[in-house]
Amino acid sequence: MVEGTGFAGISETPVVIYNAQRPGPATGLPTRTEQADLLFMLHASQDEFPRMILAPGTLEEAFHLGWHAFNVAERYQTPIMVLSDQFLADAFRSLEADALDFDAVEIDRGALLTDADLDTLTERYKRYQITESGVSPRALPGHPNAVWVTESNEHDEVPRIEEDAQNRIEQQSKRMRKAIAMTEDVPPPTWYGPEGAALTLVCWGSTYGPAREAVDRLNAQVAGAANLLHFSGLEPFPPTAETELRKAHKTVVVEGNYTGQLETLIRARIGFSVDGHIRRFDGRPFKPEFILARLQEQEA
């Protein structure tokens, strides 16, 4: 599986990979839920190539990040991961008919060459042309002016199989440059609840719902007690994350795994240490009661 992901990375093939996380390892708890594949999806496959990880928190967000993922995949010609979990994938909720804004949907094929573009091509088509953005115009096979071999080996612009050191530096740098612009397309973390609350719950993906309800209950008891910072974009790490996290007075990360993968990622990317965490890895989804009970225990 991960070798194919790497093939998409080096061959710059747009692909959207959907992972509804379940507890493992191996078969684990195959009908239950967890959020323990974040760092796996971040590193899956050998070597390095740009990727994006999107983790929708709600059904509405799943709808919008779904089509966004396909657009981003074609814009950057690289694997895009949508990270869901069993809880979100199997969740039922009634939505109003107009809750999903179909008019907002856009289809962006990125730098895709048309037959008309290829008709006027006078030089040999270079599938992996070195460009400033790192994105090379992509043809689809079938036009007489664009005949080439998609390569899993390192290759030059044409592409020929090429092991020359300078070429490797140029092609790897070209691919990795795509990550710079990708930061503009990763959704920033979003706030819920009153500004400047005493406690900030930090979460990602499907934990949004129960964390939001926990925040509501805390604020019903004491106004301004809590708010929520939710991450639905995790790679590239959103550029606004540090500013937002530093606005919080006390941060507690709520996530469904043993080691604290979002907590690890926050520390790795921006050197920010959270104040506490609530983790769950028993295969059951978070509930507001679970979060509130753990908060009480930690205060006691």
Partner: protein, 291 residues
């Protein structure tokens, strides 16, 4: 008109002098020219191995994938653009080793894909380990006491799983091989051409001389009828003093996998259809199903 120059490219193969892959490349190019198939109309999907580098040595559309994994890419290519000719070309280690599961499932789907296997009965790129088609008892670097495994029977396997064109060629019989590849390309369904490929560097037992003394053409056998599936299955397992080449089995195939797909069987190939957002009527009909 398609000529051999259309397929020519200035690239020197990494193959050893005398490798059977040169003959296979030559026969393939000639067959493509004879059947008037232009490079842009063809997609050659390969795995990993010496022979899988073949599309780099001709001017053609190709996809050089992963070891044992050309089948998923080739089936995807055929579904995305069933108007394009798709071939799979790979070695026995790739196709019958790591790729054996893909092979069996692909065969029973009958995709409109032509498969060529450069079968040298050894892992040549990695310098001589026993492969799925190595014979029992062969001593190699990874079987110093002799391989303990019976060889895979890919031709019989293909016949068993419903393939309707199953053939074996030999680059020492070049004209015959060109004819075989051409027949496979004209077959309106999945077609397999397994090729006895001498590996002069790492398979010393199976040389050109060895094969030259043993191969015989099924077409020359009186009474052999390639429409007889049982006879084909038996003949596919003949190996030793006499080694058959030619068409083992040929039948009229049913509809291809892609033509059984309700979306694909009418209209242009997927890749030629515009990708547009749903209009309001389509959105409304989707939502109606949820109410």
């Amino acid at each position: 008109m398609v000529t051999r120059d259309d397929y020519r490219i200035d690239e020197k193969p990494t193959w050893c002098p005398g490798c059977g892959d040169y003959g296979i490349l030559n026969a393939l190019t000639r067959a493509l020219v004879e059947h008037a198939i232009a490079p842009h109309e063809l997609m050659i999907v390969t795995g990993i191995g010496c022979g899988s580098k073949l599309p780099q040595y001709m001017r053609v559309n190709g996809m050089h994938t992963l070891h044992g994994r050309p089948w998923p890419a080739a089936q995807g290519a055929k579904l995305a653009n069933h108007g394009m000719r798709v071939m799979i070309i790979h070695g026995d280690g790739d196709g019958y080793g790591e790729g054996l599961g893909h092979f069996v499932h692909a065969v029973r789907r009958n995709p409109g894909v032509t498969e060529i296997v450069q079968n040298n009965k050894i892992y040549g790129l990695t310098k001589g380990q026993f492969s799925p088609t190595s014979e029992k008892g062969w001593k190699t670097s990874t079987s110093p006491h002799g391989s303990a495994e019976d060889p895979a029977q890919p031709l019989a396997l293909a016949i068993t799983h419903g393939a309707t064109f199953v053939a074996r060629g030999y680059p020492g019989e070049l004209k015959h091989l060109i004819w075989l590849i051409g027949e496979a390309l004209e077959h309106p369904g999945y077609a397999l051409v397994d090729i006895l490929q001498p590996c002069v560097s790492f398979n010393k037992p199976r040389t050109y001389d060895y094969y030259a003394e043993r191969v015989y053409r099924l077409e020359d056998e009186t009474g052999y009828n390639p429409a007889n599936r049982t006879a084909a299955w038996e003949r596919a397992q003949e190996w030793g003093e006499r080694i058959p080449i030619g068409i083992f089995y040929r039948a009229i195939p049913g509809p291809t996998f892609e033509m059984l797909d309700p979306v694909l069987k009418e209209g242009a190939p997927l890749v030629k259809r515009p990708l547009e957002k749903l209009n309001s009527a389509q959105v409304e009909s989707l939502l109606a199903k949820l109410r």
